[in-house]
Amino acid sequence: MKIEATINNKKIQMEVANDEFLVDALRRYGYSSVKRGCDTGCCGLCTVWINERPTLSCSTLAPTVQGKQITTIEGLQEEAKEFASFLVKEGAEQCGFCSPGFVMTVLAMKRELEKPTEEEIQHYLVGNLCRCTGYAGQLRAIKKYLEV
């Protein structure tokens, strides 16, 4: 079926299958920052924004985004680049596979929570798993980024 959605502020028509998930449709249309991880809703790698809310694209049926606004990291390059510099400074990245989903959640948190506490940051990011870093560096990077 054909759907139309606004992806990164551009109206895009996509041909999707009835039972296709958004992660697959986005990747097919070139948004390769969106990663498939656990595919069970646990890891947060596939996080995109749907109508400004961080959402798992692996659990969202592609036809349901008809008429909605989708944001991937390709649409937030400046902000993502700025936050990435904090990650680098804090040594908070290794393989980088989880980074796009992680960055999308951090940027959503910045918009949603005003001056979050460390506990609130941890709670907000609990759905983003990283098997390399141990999270301490990520937490330092987020705190410094939010201070700017």
């Binding site: 809310r53 659990s59 036809p63 709670h123 907000y124």
Partner: protein, 263 residues
Amino acid sequence: MFTIQHYVQPETLEEAYQFLTAKRNNVILGGCAFLKMSKKKIGTAIDLSKLQLDFIHDKGDVIEIGAMATFRSLEVNPYLNQYFNGIIPKSIKSILGVQFRNVVTIGGTVYSRYGFSDLITALLALDVDIELYHGGIMPLETFLKNGSSKDILVKVILHKNNRIASYQMMRNSVADYPILNVAVSKKGDDWKIVIGARPRRAEIAVKASEYLTNNEVNETMIKQATNIAMEELDFGTNMRGQKTYRQAIAVPLVKRGIMEVLK
């Protein structure tokens, strides 16, 4: 993984109901987070997105929650944080991450009557009705016991009263289902003890609740009420925990729930 032959977004509840009842393998879509794990061969998948059922309304004596309201919207809703000691946000805030809770809907969870549900246990401790499009309004407890013929859950209705509530659970990690969950509430002298994820569907421990209601609550009575709850409800074994383990952790969880309500 499941397959979908046809996908529709009806404009009215009647249209959705016609689609649903047209064929046995037609299904209403909730958030799809759990449905996607199944191997169902769905004829027509019915998406309720166009029916504006994602509301949470404070109507004075009740709070109405539309079937398509997401867990995240329940979690951050000021009314739900204000009433019943915030038991509803508390029961769902530990379920995976924000991005998952932005997907899962109350309708998908309640209609499916999932045994592992955190939310159903919390709701059952309150005074809650549900509205089915065809079946009308009925207490949540009745729906959980009897289910319904193919129908559409329209909304969940929470009766606002001075019920004090507490939610307790045990899970191995946020990425896992609860091993056991307990909700306890009190309105005046009327107590409710609910135990879910046993791993069976949440149920009110009726005799234990009555025991607390009819006695002055003290340490001995709490112990006795917990014993009664253990006897009247069935506990089982699955990959998350054995029956005996569940029975063992139910004791402190019920006690904690009662103590928290008494605070």
